[in-house]
Amino acid sequence: MAKKGSGQNQAEENYLNESRRNFFKQSSLLTALAVTPPAFLKAAEEGLDEKAAGYFEKMPLAIQINGVNHDLSVEPRTTLLDLIREQLALPGTKKGCDHGQCGACTVHVNGNRVLSCLTLAVTAEGKKVTTIEGLADGEKLHPMQEAFIKYDGFQCGYCTPGQIMSGIACIREGHANSDDEIREYMSGNICRCGAYPNIVKAIADVKKGGQTL
């Protein structure tokens, strides 16, 4: 019992070592990014540091997107937005600024709204992500999608996926009790076409409907 056997235990040992190594690699990577960005960037710029490339070594990522489990391998610097759009080919989530300033990239992580352009994909490890593509159940639209259609809550449609994801979260958070409250809690989602009045109506209507979202 106290003595380590061979065979199976050796495999386990190897596995653990491997995991430790991975863990170490990951944490040192994060440390490296956090602590020494200038040196690191310099290395990257000069293109001579093999180690720099090592920092971008891909990391495993288990993530559920729209109900489908994915085992992926991503660069640690990949944003959730780029992962969704580029690696998973789900272009419904839009990139309007990539700086957390427009709301077009809003998705749900474990049911809460996040700006996917400000979220590193690796931080969603083990989490459930819902994008605009994951709302409808086959041909049956989500009530918020229905409401946006009913109230014409869009023009060009570019901000719409973000608005809808945000609108759902706004209700879930309990922030849709009045038009004023809706406005305040939707103010992170810019619509340059100015479909605002109809967006407020759509969210208020879903809230009134009282469905659990």
């Binding site: 839009k94 939707m186 340059r192 605002y196 109809n198």
Partner: protein
């Protein structure tokens, strides 16, 4: 009818440029823009960039296979700077690499040595130095010089408006794929597919039939993708042409903001004269348009400034002159209203100045001078006016008098918050001011299974034009809308298109579609008459069936088109539409510039927090001349959106270039556009139904641009609220009225040191003790 894009928009299934699936081997471009605004290029170092991993090629001016030129109206804009740079962000090199990241990383290694030249950012300074894009133009009516003598009151001053960033949420971009035989397929996020085609051909040296431009849809355009989409498409086209590989460039938001032009800032002088009854007698205005470094669309925009210089008013003696001034900013460009809003702001300022001085409400002057049917615009066209109708209806419907009383009452009871009211009449001409552009084509195919395909030159960018075009086809054929598909916009299907602009897209392309469908319908009726053995004149198509003398027959749409096909009757048509009646004589500066005008009146109420200078728009209530709207839901959306954008321009959207011509408001954090919280609390829209004009499709009237100018009312409402707090406030006519400027105005020129405030609100005053 619902917007036909409803389903795909809400499901995230609409395909914009950046969503087009990439072909294997696609390369990515990124532009290196000039770091300074004006100077001579001494040297450009791209050698490090060329060695960067993943980099395929770095293009510079010498790699241009055709002509290094993309200027549309005037050839004054190189695709890639060669000897000189004229604005910050002017593309100098274009890196093409295997990934987006690699391209952008390589751009950062490019260095340039520039011998700086003086930078001009102010249009008046440019004019003083003779830096003009085109010679100035003057519109005149009557004789101002003698008219001043007949005036009882004369007021003069300066009015200025800042630019405006388009901030379409989808940034600019292009994706070009080489085809067989040296051809190129260009996907572009553009309002002007033909402009992109022309620019791509020019820089590659290819003829137009080898370059197809296709546009799926835009995530907003607002004028910003009319000519400014050309650069990115031309760069990708050049690279794809040289490398024979697909090349894509989708701009980052900050690149887009820094490198593209915006609405033109204007600085203007005005002089207005009235008789003793406050009738306008004479008006003189000089407009200095800040065109930026190249012509782009500036000359056309300047023209519209002149065409709208009297807004909704009749003035018998007018002299308006405009200068398009070359500065070292990115070339400014089209933006909803196209120079019209800028000149309307000037005349509204002139009226406000008069009202201030005379101690009356601007509305008194505005109402007295509204243009009537038969009155002449300064460019010679006679008005068919709905101005008074809109104004009167707005006054009655929204009970403007009681709003006014309510505000008086509120202001007398509140010290810290003040409300202001303004009315804003708008009169906006519909048609391209360049007569040749008032044409459109439509290609309609009826397939023998009964489905219908429509292609036009219209680009869908949220204005709902595709829905309207689909309605036209469904109405003419009297079939279910589901049978009709409006296709993407492609220069191979529709050639020589005019851009989707000037609010005229639905009018022009709708009419062309109407013509094409009607011709097919005539042929189908003939077939039906033969089949049923009756006279052709008795045939009608209704609800998917052939009716004979108002009686439904067995012959339905599907059978009918199938029969026509078997009888070898053509069930496709390509039709051309040219707007009748319009012309313009530039030598005389007179003509019938517009097919018709759209009128409206907006009533705006705002509340200013006089401690902090922040404000809220309580309500914007509008009576708008829709003609007979084809799609009220879409049109209401256009009005609401236009108002919000107009308010943004007048209030919070402040573009800041420093003296060196560098954009300081270069992201959404430093450039604020209205969010849902800053949009008006209430927007009411009333349809003034009129059917006097029959020039647009189904008696509708264009709706894209006119509502933008309702936003100007917000500026003057804010002004009135500030005056309610400080009657002596010094408020220069200088838009936007940001909270900062509001605060300065509130406490300007003798600061109202309100003992009353002190008495009633001790605490608040401690924080008022500014200045």
């Amino acid at each position: 009818m619902k917007n036909i894009d409803s389903k795909t928009h809400t499901r995230g299934k609409s395909i914009y440029l950046d969503d087009i699936p990439l072909l294997q081997g696609t390369l990515f471009g990124a532009a290196f823009g000039s770091p300074i605004a004006h100077g001579i290029i001494r040297s450009l170092n791209i050698s490090v960039a060329e060695q960067m991993p993943g980099v395929i090629k770095v293009f510079t001016a010498k790699d241009v296979t055709g002509e290094n030129q993309i200027g549309g109206i005037i050839p004054d804009e190189p695709l890639l700077a060669e000897h000189e740079v004229d604005f910050c962000g002017m593309p100098v090199a274009f890196v093409v690499a295997q990934s987006d990241d690699a391209a952008r990383a390589a751009v950062k290694t490019i260095t340039i040595d520039i011998e700086p030249l003086p930078v001009i950012t102010d249009p008046r300074e440019a004019k003083a130095r003779g830096e003009l894009i085109v010679p100035p133009r003057t519109f005149s009516l009557g004789n101002v010089d003698t008219a001043w003598q007949a005036c009882e009151y004369i007021f003069e001053g300066i009015a200025e408006t800042n630019g405006q960033e388009h901030l379409y949420i989808e940034t600019q971009g292009a994706y070009v794929i080489p085809q067989e035989n040296g051809a190129l397929k260009v996907y572009s996020s553009t309002q002007g597919p033909t402009a992109v085609q022309r620019a791509s051909c020019r820089v590659t040296g290819l003829p137009m039939h080898l370059v197809e431009v296709e546009v799926t849809r835009l995530g907003g355009g607002f004028g910003g993708k009319e000519d400014q989409a050309n650069t990115w498409a031309a760069l990708c086209a050049l690279a794809a042409h040289r490398l024979r590989k697909p090349v894509k460039y989708s701009l980052h938001r900050m690149e887009d903001m820094a490198m593209t032009g915006k609405r033109h800032p204007y600085s203007s002088d005005y002089k207005i004269g009235f008789d003793k009854d406050l009738k306008m007698v004479a008006y003189e205005a000089t407009f200095y348009q800040n065109a930026g470094a190249a012509a782009d669309l500036s000359p056309a925009i300047m023209e519209r400034t002149l065409l709208h210089c009297t807004n909704s008013y009749f003035i018998p003696n007018v002299k308006a002159t405009a200068y398009s001034c070359r500065t070292h900013l990115p070339p400014n460009t089209a933006f909803r209203g196209f120079g019209g809003p800028q000149s309307m702001f000037v005349i509204e300022s002139a009226i406000a100045k008069a009202a201030d001085t005379l101690g009356i409400d601007s509305a008194v002057i505005q109402k007295k001078n509204l243009i009537k049917t038969g009155d002449e615009f300064p460019f010679g066209q006679k008005a068919v006016s709905e101005a008074a109708e809109c104004w009167k209806k707005a006054e009655q419907l929204y009970e403007v008098n009681s709003i006014r009383e309510g505000i008086k009452d509120f202001n007398s009871k509140n010290q810290i918050y003040k409300k202001g009211l303004a009315l804003m009449p708008v009169c906006f001409g519909i048609s391209f001011t360049n007569t040749a552009m008032n044409q459109a084509r439509s290609l309609v195919h009826v397939y023998f299974d009964g489905s219908v395909s429509v292609s036009t030159g219209a680009v869908e960018m949220g204005q709902g034009v595709n829905t309207k075009i689909l309605q036209v086809a469904a109405i003419v054929f009297s079939i279910h809308p589901d049978r009709v598909k409006v296709q993407t916009t492609s220069t191979s299907r529709i050639a020589n298109t005019s851009p989707s602009a000037a609010s005229a897209t639905a009018d022009l392309n709708g009419k062309a579609t109407y013509l094409a469908c009607t011709r097919i319908l005539e042929r189908l009726k003939k077939v039906a008459a033969e089949e049923l053995g009756v006279d052709e004149n008795l045939i009608e198509l209704k609800d998917e069936y052939v009716f004979v003398n108002n009686v439904q027959s067995d012959l339905d749409w599907k059978k009918l088109v199938n029969t026509a096909h078997l009888k070898r009757v053509g069930i496709s048509e390509h039709a051309n539409y040219a707007t009748p009646e319009i012309y313009f004589d530039k030598a005389k500066e007179k003509g019938h510039a517009f097919s018709y005008h759209v009128y409206g009146t907006a009533v705006t109420v705002v509340t200013v927090d006089c401690l902090r200078g922040i404000y809220e728009i309580d309500a914007v209530k509008v009576v708008h001349d829709f003609g007979t709207s084809m799609n009220p839901a879409i049109d209401i959306g256009q009005i609401e959106g236009g108002i919000v954008q107009g308010i943004g321009w007048m209030t919070m959207e402040e573009i800041i270039y420093d003296k060196e011509g560098k954009l300081r408001s270069n992201a959404l954090s430093t450039y604020k556009v209205p969010d849902i919280y800053s949009a008006p609390k209430e927007i009411s829209i009333d349809f003034l139904q009129s059917d006097k004009d029959n020039l647009a499709i189904f008696r509708s009237k264009a709706v894209g641009e006119p509502p933008f100018m309702y936003g100007i009312g917000t500026y003057f409402a804010l002004r009135n609220a500030i005056k309610a707090f400080n009657p002596l406030a010094h408020i220069p006519f200088n838009a936007p009225m940001t909270p900062e400027k509001t605060l300065l105005a509130l406490y300007s020129n003798p600061q109202p040191l309100s003992k009353e405030i002190k008495r009633k609100d001790e605490e608040a005053v401690t924080s008022v003790a500014i200045n």
